[in-house]
Point group: C2
Chain length 300, copies 2
Amino acid sequence: MKGGRPVKPTSIALALLAATASAHADPLEGKRSSAEILAASASEDWRALDPENTLYIALERGRVVVMLSPVLAQDHVAQIKALAREGFYDGLSFYRVIDGFVAQGGDLFETRDVKTAAKTLSAEFDERAPEGLGFTALPDADGYAPEVGFAASLPTGYDAASGRAWHLHCAGAIAMARDEGRDTAGTEFYITLQPQRYLDRNLSVFGRVVEGMEHIQALRRVAPAETPEGDLGETILSVRVAADLPASARAPLEILRTDAEIFQEYAESRRNRPEAFFYRRPNHVDVCQLPIPVRRREAS
Amino acid sequence: MKGGRPVKPTSIALALLAATASAHADPLEGKRSSAEILAASASEDWRALDPENTLYIALERGRVVVMLSPVLAQDHVAQIKALAREGFYDGLSFYRVIDGFVAQGGDLFETRDVKTAAKTLSAEFDERAPEGLGFTALPDADGYAPEVGFAASLPTGYDAASGRAWHLHCAGAIAMARDEGRDTAGTEFYITLQPQRYLDRNLSVFGRVVEGMEHIQALRRVAPAETPEGDLGETILSVRVAADLPASARAPLEILRTDAEIFQEYAESRRNRPEAFFYRRPNHVDVCQLPIPVRRREAS
């Protein structure tokens, strides 16, 4: 079941027994499954989250961990960290939660002043790809971008013609909302509940949820209230930068490196699943359907 | 906000004022937005759900409405209806809920016998496209299928070479789990929480959640218990065929016809959103990112 098969659980032993007598020839026999590849990975295939670029969103439901990406959205990352450090979001809410679309949070009625953070931000819809971006392209065609792949373990688009790169609106992306003008983002942010690729390069994605996405998916659906007395949705208890918490209170997470050799084999195991369960293999993987594994770091 | 923009709500009036002075030229000015197209739709652009092919899954959280598709999975539709009418699922649970993957429900420890339903089913991974399938292809390229589009308002793949069609694993798809053998599906079903297109043509999709998907997304995440005393997840209160309920207890839902002319304009409004909010338009829409509108039928 680790391999992402909706299999009937009680019959796994039987299925394994039957596997050698499987009726369909399997050209991928001997190739490793995703689970096998990850089980055999080395510690250097994983990268510990940087506490200075990790955000914790505390909800009644539990903690949501966001990996920030200064590499392609440095101003937005600086902004959300400044806001977190001001305590700006504490006690605000996810006031707009639309099923299958986004969960949007912040200060619906603009009752709070920012202190150290900027009032508005210049767009970082895309950026000239910096030296050392470490973009790993997928060979798979994509309808929304000339090339897609991963940078810093986040889904990323790239346009060789302009040399520009941007993070993608896959599920769990975090970005700033804005008004109609490009440079009008400020404090209100959203997290995508499903892929929304049409938003790519129209808003500034600055990170991704890497743990606790089930809490975001479970948020009570709510439309923005018309008055402050209306339903403001579920409360954001606090937003904190991991580095500001004692080490013992941090989530010891690490994410698979997408610039490691192992990633190529992992991607292939998702493109064409070698497990005998599969009768058809598409020889394709959508960049938003290639989740990058996150795990708890082993005690050293 | 109806148009799917993560906009700052309190600034909408300002944004509208500013729109005429927008800095970016808009080649799509005058084209209608999705919201405008739907607002101007005629009643014949919508199709009422057929109560005989509509399933209600009752949870503590609320009711989930599933539109069944006998056109491409007649045996699976007959099976789930027979099981519903036996009361087979009543009191069972969603025992396997993996974030970003699927919510799987049924009889984890196989304690119940089927009565009128089949013990196992022949696969309906894909079917020879029947006369009157009403497949509306999208012009957009897809990495998983030769052609994608909609049949009976459900996301559908089509292969002209073989003449076969199948429903897609977009979010909210419902399908039967199975063992390794093709023809081993029986009673355990799953609903996809995110698109899982690699499962296409490997399992038999027979419908889609059209209301209450937020309840499925909110289900408590749980791995299959090892013993009946373990955590079996959230309870399924009942599964019913809508036709078996009095008309007053049915959800009066209708779905946009994907074989109506209006659908072409609607799809184009999602492919290239005409709203001035958008700075880039991808000229592409992923079939799983083109939700087909569902609404409550107006009283006649």
